[in-house]
Symmetry: C2
Subunit: 68 residues, 2 copies
Amino acid sequence: MIKCHLSKLMGEKKLKIVDVARETGVNRGTVTRLYHETASRVELETIEALCRYLGCDVGDLFEFVDEQ
Amino acid sequence: MIKCHLSKLMGEKKLKIVDVARETGVNRGTVTRLYHETASRVELETIEALCRYLGCDVGDLFEFVDEQ
DNA sequence: GCATAATGATCTTCAGGAGGACATTTTGAA
DNA sequence: TTCAAAATGTCCTCCTGAAGATCATTATGC
């Protein structure tokens, strides 16, 4: 599965969902879905905005977890 | 921007688009879009299949390139 | 206690990926 | 070189889910 670490990254910086949505321009519903890992599709634009805002790379945000 | 290194990864292994599509179960059109970097949205399921098949992590497949 | 902010949940709209079909190009064997 | 099969590019339709807005509920702090 692909694990999204947005909640962890946000937690480390004590960020709120509204903060991330407001500062990145990404829709709040989208941030919420990624935060709770209920998203199954992502816009590359969204990934870019989050990486830029969080100062991280794609690999920090998403991780491939092999669970055969 | 978010750069997709699928073409590079495929080139290193001398893989064809059909190979990747057939082996991963991902639609050929989707592989083509990622190969030519014309995709703007990705299914997490697709990323998972590609990572598993290529034996790489998400960060190897997608890279955040800051170009302010 | 109350006002404000934050979050969760739901609905509609719509862009674009998924999947399939067809045309064209490339490849390789005869 | 010729021809058939494979690979790729392109176009079309369908359908999912992000985007955006709104409302109800919960949390925060003054």
